[in-house]
Amino acid sequence: MAEIDKPMLLEWYRQMFLIRQFENQCDVLYKEKKITGVYMHLYSGLEATGVGALAALRPSDHVITAYRDHGIALARGMDPKVAMAEMMGKRTGCSGGKGGSMHLASREHNFWGGYAIVGGHLPLAAGIALESRYNGKDDVVLSFIGDGATNNGYFHEAVNLSAVWDLPVVWLIENNGYGMGTPVEVASGQPELHKRAVAYGIKDMGRVDGQNVVDVYNVVTKAVEYARKKGPVLIESLTYRYKGHGVSDRSYDKLAELRDWQQKDPILVLQDYLCKHFECIEEELKDIERAEMAAVHAAVEFAEDSEAPTYEDLISHIYVEE
């Protein structure tokens, strides 16, 4: 395992701060009706899980997730400009304005996309992992899973398939406590979701504090090593969504709970860690924050200045045409 050094920590801080800024900006733009549509699910509060997990991968490894995908896209290195342009439905967006908030993807980053059918991307993760094994590579697939998604048939079928085919998949459950309005305990007979691993005979890597990027990095690094050499593993990361399920939420009345979680805000947790370990780091953090605020600002400008898709875009890429 790579020793965690200061540049790594600062890079994680940068990514987490960027995601938070990006999501706050999306929130504002949605209220201003510059981002439209009925679906937008923000990653605020979950930054440490996404950033810590992705830091454990190499560029040739693969990432796939559900519709809460902005943070994953940015942590994987997607330019905030093309992410924001997609949010605004512009043809310069990563998916040409045809995918929207829930369907960010970047082939060049081996980010295989956000998927909006709960659980639907899980067998895709297995299939991508099969290609790696089939061609004798040792790349792994990191597949995020919502706590709610663990109750749909895709979870069962995909995880079991990964077990019987020995596929290099790290199944990472983002347990943020809810699937829409339904708490985990209400939806799952076994609310300790990592224990599902036992049922499939795959490696159970237990629970991790999803607010702590260092902890997430450490456990996912072990999981990736295991998946590369042996086979599938399951991890459960405990975290929280700050902005509710999405813009379709009705009143969000869990303020007390939200405040509790904000006590261990992933960005603050990392700030504390950095300040404890490195002297006079505050100025460096401020510089990072200024730069990322500017990056998000530039992304909004870029998106606003971009063209809407055309009729040609509407009818292109329905089929591969050579």
Partner: protein
């Protein structure tokens, strides 16, 4: 090389085998495709010849079979996934419709999904209500997917090879009743038929019979019988429900000015509905009679032989329909 006489299942097997030899990326996956030798024997001998890596038995997991095929195809392999019978593909519907068919478009061309789902389809063996579906039109509803339904061993080979070589997802159905039916098949391993091209299975000038898969046989039998009465039917085998070769249908219709659509599927929202709509919309000036439809009856399929057969289309029903408009 001369054409060789063989049943459709052997033609399919030949096509699949040739493509696996030709392209390392092609592999088969599905329930009982390996050790069991394939429920319909299309993959007979494959496990021995190609090994476990390329002949992959799966658990009974239709969602994962289709979904994993999508992922593998996106990543650069060329999966041929078998769904034992199309009745079970309803469990795969989401992966096929929401992912196989949409991913290329939704991510603006970043990913391709070169996969084939093969499924046995059809009814008439007292398989009863849940095991007697021919839902090809449901799949043909969705842009992004191709749907192929061969009627002869020759077409089966050429169409399956085309499906495997194409970069788009293809749902490929094989009529269970046609598996044992023989026909002459080119032995060349470059015999590939174009996707989306219909075929005139019999020429005629009085009525166009538009059909596919098992309907071709009923249509040819009906045409034979009607020819004795001096009525010449042209039998257009669509071969593909998507892309739909309306050009060939229209060309035939301009000559005959009459049409009967013959299909094994249910009548509502069917191929018959679509062809009738296309003809009235684009060929109105050529119409001499309403478009007739022969299909399964609009009932769930029962067990008892006597009443099951009542619900099935057949050559006589086609003859009757033609007589109504001639």
């Amino acid at each position: 090389m001369a054409d060789k006489n063989m049943p459709m299942r052997e033609a399919l097997r030949m096509a699949l085998r040739e493509e696996m030899i030709r392209d390392e990326r092609v592999f088969v996956m599905g329930e009982e495709v390996g050790a069991w030798q394939g429920t319909h024997r299309v993959t007979r001998g494959f496990l021995e010849e190609f090994g476990e890596k390329r002949v992959r038995d799966t658990p009974i997991s239709e969602m994962a079979i289709a979904g994993a095929a999508v992922g593998a195809a996106m990543a650069g392999l060329r999966p041929v996934a078998e769904i034992m019978t199309i009745n079970f593909a309803f469990l795969s519907l989401d992966a096929i419709v929401n992912h196989a068919a949409k991913i290329h478009y939704m991510f603006n061309g970043q990913f391709r999904v070169p996969m084939v789902i093969r499924a046995a389809s059809g009814w008439g063996d007292q398989a009863t209500a849940t095991h007697s579906h021919t839902p090809e039109p449901i799949f043909a509803h969705f842009p992004g997917l191709y749907v192929g339904c061969p009627a002869t061993p020759r077409d089966a080979k050429g169409m399956l090879k085309a499906a495997i070589r194409d970069d788009n997802p293809v749902l490929f159905t094989e009529s269970i009743a046609l598996y044992p039916k023989p026909g002459f098949v080119p032995e060349e391993d470059d015999f590939v038929l174009p996707i989306g091209k219909a075929d005139i299975k019999r020429e005629g000038r009085h009525v166009t019979l538009v059909t596919y898969a098992r309907g071709v046989e009923w249509s040819l039998q009906a045409a034979e019988q009607l020819a004795k009465e001096g009525v010449e039917c042209e039998v257009v085998d669509l071969r593909w429900l998507r892309p739909l070769d309306t050009a060939t249908v229209f060309e035939s219709f301009q000559k005959t000015n009459r049409c009967v659509v013959v299909e094994e599927s249910l009548p509502y929202y069917s191929v018959g509905s679509e062809i009738a709509a296309q003809i009235q919309e684009h060929m109105f000036d050529y119409m001499d009679a309403p478009v007739k439809r022969v299909s399964a009856m609009d009932v769930p399929l029962p067990y008892a032989r006597e009443i099951e057969l009542m619900a099935l289309p057949n050559a006589q029903k086609v003859v009757d329909a033609v007589r109504e408009i001639i």
